[in-house]
């Protein structure tokens, strides 16, 4: 198994009531509510938490980025990854990930990632994402070409990493007449690429086509099964047997010394009205052309029909229900281990990201959580995962992609 520590790096100093009053906590929520002094303190605390996670036995640290929103302070995942490359020694630095369509120059991304891989001595896992709808607007990037840009930037970055330059790239969205960066990754043929997502079928198929592990973000057991089915089907068509090594799962999970404390702190996962990425304005979150055209009607209904009143309360299931359904796991190490065993049995994933602290969980409680998780939960879960045969891509040394696979079987007809 590969078990990671994750935090959204919440800007916990943000005035929650202001967000409720504004009825949205992203994109246009005024940044006059940004508090510089608290942000500086929090960034440094979060870096210390990552170092603790390594010291206490986690295999990896998962990072991400979002823009214009207090739920996530990471405006650039590569900046935090650069810090971790220098201050950690052992953990994998797992970026889930860089929003490729936001890049105007993917070569620059390829260089930054190569430097992170070099400085970390080959510990980079370079996930790629499309970025949420609001991220496109925050970056001024055309949402209508989001998926085309994602796929083209991906192709360009992988080629930049694996083919010596200079060469020329004349694509639909990127034109680089000279590609010849003087920083290339240490890992060969290139750093592992993992793809996180919620349920977008196109992204699942993209990951499966390339043999990239797909990290399901807090999906239900039923949703996850559908994801793995879709993935497995494409894998069979491509010619490899997919399994737990291609499956990852992000779960909100908080551990404390008492059940009461764990429950109280886990409630902080609801701090953004229970929404995964804060309370999204339906229009800003779903710009035209961003989503799959096959689902246009569904999104049009969502954009047009969401009642304004619901913005104030959010759309997530109540906390108690999420806890009961193991969408949120919390407790002492002892009870959490038992719950995580059920999660692993349900999800059959070899990659597990534990989103451990959110909202206004205090620095002291966050540290306790990391210590208890690392010292008690992670070893027990790793052992249980082994028993279930959940071998990670590192355990099995799987090929980094279809392109670099030497074990493909004859294709099965679609």
């Amino acid at each position: 198994m590969h078990i990671m520590y994750f935090s959204e790096q919440p800007m916990s100093a943000y005035p929650e009531q202001e967000g409720r009053n504004f009825r949205s906590t992203a994109l246009m929520f005024p940044n006059r509510h940004f508090d510089e002094k608290s942000a500086s303190r929090l960034y440094n605390e979060y870096i210390e938490h990552y170092v603790m996670a390594e010291d206490n036995g986690f295999d990896g640290i998962m990072l991400n980025e979002h823009h214009n929103a207090p739920f996530c302070m990471q405006a650039k995942t590569n900046i935090m990854a650069s810090v971790l490359a220098a201050v950690t020694k052992r953990v994998k630095i797992v970026l889930l990930g860089n929003p490729l369509p936001l890049a105007e120059n993917p070569i620059r991304l390829a260089e930054e990632l190569a430097m992170i891989d070099l400085i970390s001595k080959g510990r980079l896992v370079s996930g790629f994402v499309r970025g949420g709808g609001t991220e496109q607007l925050a970056a001024g990037v055309n949402p209508a070409y989001n998926r085309e840009r994602f796929e083209e930037a991906h192709d360009l970055i992988v080629r930049t990493w694996t083919e010596r330059g200079p060469f020329r790239w004349e694509g639909d969205h990127y034109q680089n007449r000279v590609v010849n960066p003087w920083a290339l990754p240490l890992q060969q043929p290139h750093p592992r690429i993992w793809i996180p997502g919620v349920v977008s079928t196109e992204t699942i198929k993209f990951a499966a086509r390339h043999r990239y592990p797909y990290i399901a973000l807090n999906t239900s057991a039923e949703q996850s099964r559908k994801v793995w089915d879709a993935y497995d089907q494409v894998a069979a068509e491509v010619g490899y047997q997919s399994g737990p090594q291609q499956r990852g799962y992000l779960l909100r999970c908080h551990v404390a010394e008492t059940e009461e404390k764990a429950l109280a702190n886990a409630r902080q996962f609801m701090w953004m009205a229970g929404e995964f990425t804060g309370v999204a304005h339906p229009v800003w979150g779903n710009p035209a052309g961003y989503y799959s055209p096959t689902q246009r009607q569904m999104f049009v209904k969502m954009v047009a029909g969401r009642p304004e009143a619901a913005w104030a309360t959010g759309y997530a299931a109540p906390f108690e229900q999420q806890v009961a359904e193991l969408g949120i796991v919390c407790g002492t190490p002892k009870t959490v281990i038992e719950k995580l065993k059920i999660v692993l049995e349900n999800m059959q994933t070899s990659i597990l990201a534990l989103w451990a602290n959110d909202g206004k969980v205090s620095d002291a409680d966050a540290r306790t959580c990391i210590r208890l998780m690392g010292q008690e939960v992670v070893p027990a879960i790793r052992e249980y995962g082994d028993k279930l045969g959940l071998k990670s891509p590192f355990d099995l040394e799987t090929p980094v992609s279809t392109k670099f696979s030497k074990d493909l079987m004859p294709r099965v007809a679609a």
Binding site: L137, N142, A144, A288, V300
Partner: protein, 258 residues
């Protein structure tokens, strides 16, 4: 009662839908970014005086989407080729909002071909004051209402809760705007310069309460076109043809006939 007919012409590899109606001098009508209803009181009024040629922009309404299209100037070229295919000459242009931008682009391409040019709440120019309203931040309904001085016109035209197929069309049209006019949003940095030798007599119309395109953009149009006059419609927003159909039809008719 005006009889309307439809035709389809293949231009640049894609099917362009055209509505025809009325009799008289040819008037090419270029619709808004949100597309156009099939029937409008305003269209019928104009059709009493003109032969109306009303194409759906490529990617809008019943016209096919050219996946390759990347600019509003591409739309203008397609419409020029469409007019050539239809063998239309001696025509005038009436451009509404986004269609005004297309009309202005078309005028710069072939200034001698056009009899008269009417631009109503035209996009296409960076307003010196204010901004062109950003659809990306507004719901479909809120965007249209932003363009109305009298909000009750919305209900009269689409009903208080527009049908899903109307909303879906608005989404498709919005996506088209993004595909071809995302950045800079809904204007051209070169158009004001290119307008300077368009000697076509031009009428620039703006509602005095246009929440979509600031009046200052109309003023730049009126200043850039050498033979233009500016007309401001009172108590009116961006969708002048919906709010003041009789007044706008009168302005257009007397200007083109005059």
């Amino acid at each position: 009662m005006v009889a309307w007919s439809e035709s389809t012409v293949t231009v640049a590899g894609g099917k362009v839908h055209v509505a025809h109606g009325g009799r008289g001098a040819p008037l090419v009508l270029l619709h808004h970014d949100i597309g156009t209803p099939d029937q409008l009181d305003f269209y019928d009024r104009l059709a009493e005086h003109f032969e109306i040629i009303l194409p759906h922009h490529p990617g809008w309404g019943k016209s096919e989407r050219p996946q390759w299209m990347r600019s509003v100037r591409d739309v203008a070229v397609i419409h020029q080729e469409l007019l050539a295919e239809l063998k239309i000459t001696g025509h005038s242009f009436l451009g509404l909002g986004f269609g005004g931008w297309i009309a202005a682009e078309m005028a710069t391409m072939a200034p001698r071909d056009i009899k008269k040019l009417v631009l109503v709440g035209a996009m296409g120019i960076k307003p010196p004051e204010g901004f062109i309203a950003d659809q990306a931040l507004l719901s479909y309904i809120a965007y249209v209402k932003t363009g109305l001085h009298d909000k009750s016109v919305f209900d009269k035209t689409w009903g208080p809760e527009p049908e899903l197929d109307v909303l879906e069309q608005w989404d498709i049209h919005r996506e088209m705007c993004f595909r071809i006019a995302w950045k800079p949003y809904m204007y051209s940095q070169t158009l004001p310069h290119l307008l300077k030798n368009v000697h076509t007599p031009a009428l620039v119309v703006t509602g005095d309460d246009d929440g979509v395109v600031p009046k200052s953009a109309a003023e730049v149009y009126a200043k850039s076109l050498p033979h233009a006059s500016l007309s401001v419609v009172k108590d009116c927003g961006h969708f002048v043809e919906l709010e003041k159909p009789a007044e706008l039809a009168g302005l257009v008719t007397s200007f083109i006939a005059g």
